[in-house]
Amino acid sequence: MKILVALKQVPDTETRIKVAADGKSIDPADVKWITSPYDEYALEEAIRLKESKAAEVTVVSLGGDSAKDVLRNALALGADNAVLLKSDATDPLAIASALAAYAKGKGFDLIMAGNKGIGGDNASVGPMIAELLDMAQANVVVKLEIGDGTFRAEREIEGGTEVIEGKLPAVITAQKGLNEPRYASLKGIMGAKKKTIEEMDGAAPTGATSVVGMVMPPARPEGRKLEGEPAQQAAALLGALKDEAKIF
């Protein structure tokens, strides 16, 4: 079985976002870069399948040179091969097309991704790859079982869980709860240093969409504290919600 895991490098969730001078991207100064959190669940699931079904795991990231950190980390965790698709594309369709072009014809049974790359928050690259490669898909998956050429996935929907059954090959996007990702061992980290990361050209930077502006959220109106004993505070709050906010 062959598995491809798509890993995106994103700003750490702690990052205080500032808009760059161009007015349409974030200021990269002081940004610490990490693997997108959901991608860690995707990778962990792939490594578990490697352990239980002798799968071969390839990781791919589309981005700049710094994305090698994400790939190196994945190698330390147990991925077999790593590929960097060099590009600074931001359009989901352009990224999905480049990832699909890489995967095409290589016989992957499973393509794992995060359900959303935090930051861009597009939540679209997974289903786009599935369409471009004419594969089955299951998104926001919290449980995955692989059968003989088939899969059964549980995915989160409003107020419940949906059970999807389908044929391999498939694109599965991971949600928190799918598994508990492991930490890299010292042996893994040392081993990863010796492995090579294959590099090739990725997508053209222009795609079907482009970001033409970026602003900070509007400042929230000044709030106020409600004083007194709990019963008074409660009464004051309900009064304010009723009369000022007009919620009730």
Partner: protein, 323 residues
């Protein structure tokens, strides 16, 4: 044409669909286009309701084998409808199904996609979308260069307004039945309550709740206010039996209710990212320095175990109903 992919639940038009239709109507009026509502699967009576929200045409793509959702079949049906009708803009609610089917349909059409948008406009005949990025730490404007432009609208942001349209019914041929994947069953939690992303009022608990049993007091308050319960990641990860589906934040649900009440939540950057789009924020925290107060429309410094029951009592006495 502007086409809106619509969803039914128990035969009724879902709220996120009515919101997308209303926004579609507005854009159609602004650009002199017609508005189409598309239903895939079993559409029974509810589809006709799309006319109330301004649909000029109601397109149904029905077949027994489409009764269960299949991402590849639905994406194919949606893309076919776009082509048949020559639609240039395709919208839908940013629901579990919308976010599953529409990016896939976009790829099939070679179209650009903007997800979870909070504002839309037509600029020089093309769609432009404003959407939160970095979980709401910033807002980006997305411009499209593709012929077809696809977007999903974030629930609870666009206002559904009734504006009758002609609602001419038209049926479309269904795709063949050999699907790559299909929904086998839905394991509902059966609460019957709104999902966090669609809820108007959310009462959330954090580490300050001390254990899972204590969430019962939040349930009571939420019931009295007509809301649902959410949680911080600290509460979800503490092993209190709080499901991840309840987590609000950058790696949980991003919500935009009218009212968000944070109980025993400090206001970490990742939590704020998920709820700062709420219209009114109430913080109940015993630490007057907690960062959550910087965001709060109304702050209550106090012990939540004293304040929350008082709130429930007062809310019950008023027998409130949200407007």
């Amino acid at each position: 044409m502007i086409l809106v992919f619509c969803e039914l639940k128990d035969g009724n038009l879902r709220k996120p669909s009515t919101e997308a239709l209303s926004e579609g109507r507005r854009l159609a009026d602004a650009s002199g286009k017609r508005l189409g509502a598309l239903f895939v699967g079993a559409s029974n009576g509810g589809a006709a309701d799309a006319a109330k929200y301004g649909a000029d045409v109601i397109l149904t793509c029905e077949a027994p084998h489409l009764a269960s959702y299949s991402s590849d079949a639905f994406a194919a049906a949606i893309a076919d409808a776009v082509k048949t009708k020559g639609a240039t803009v395709l919208l839908g609610g940013a629901t579990a199904m919308g976010k599953d089917a529409l990016p896939r349909a976009a790829a099939r059409l070679g179209a650009g996609y903007a997800g979870d948008v909070t504002s839309l406009s037509m600029v020089d005949g093309k769609l432009q979308a404003v959407r939160p990025v970095y979980a709401g730490k910033a807002f980006a404007t997305t411009a499209f260069s593709s012929a077809v432009q696809v977007a999903t609208t974030r629930p609870n942001v666009f206002i559904a307004t009734e504006k009758p349209g002609a609602g001419t019914m038209e049926s479309l041929p269904a795709p063949a039945g050999d699907f790559k994947a299909i929904v086998k069953e839905i394991l509902a939690k059966g609460t019957g309550k709104a999902d966090l992303t669609e809820a108007n009022i959310i009462v959330s608990g954090g580490r300050g709740m001390k254990n899972g049993e204590n969430f019962a007091i939040l349930e009571e308050l939420a019931d009295a206010l007509g809301g649902v319960v959410g949680a911080s990641r600290a509460a979800v990860d503490a092993g209190w039996g709080i499901s991840h589906g309840m987590q609000v934040g950058q790696t949980g649900k991003v919500v935009s209710p009218t009212l968000y009440i944070a109980c025993g939540i400090s206001g970490a950057i990742q939590h704020i990212a998920g709820m700062s789009g709420s219209k009114y924020i109430v913080a109940i925290n015993k630490d007057p320095e907690a960062p959550i107060f910087k965001l709060a429309s109304y702050g209550i410094v106090g012990d939540l175990f004293e304040v929350v029951p008082e709130l429930t009592k007062a809310a019950k006495a008023l027998s409130l109903t949200a407007q």
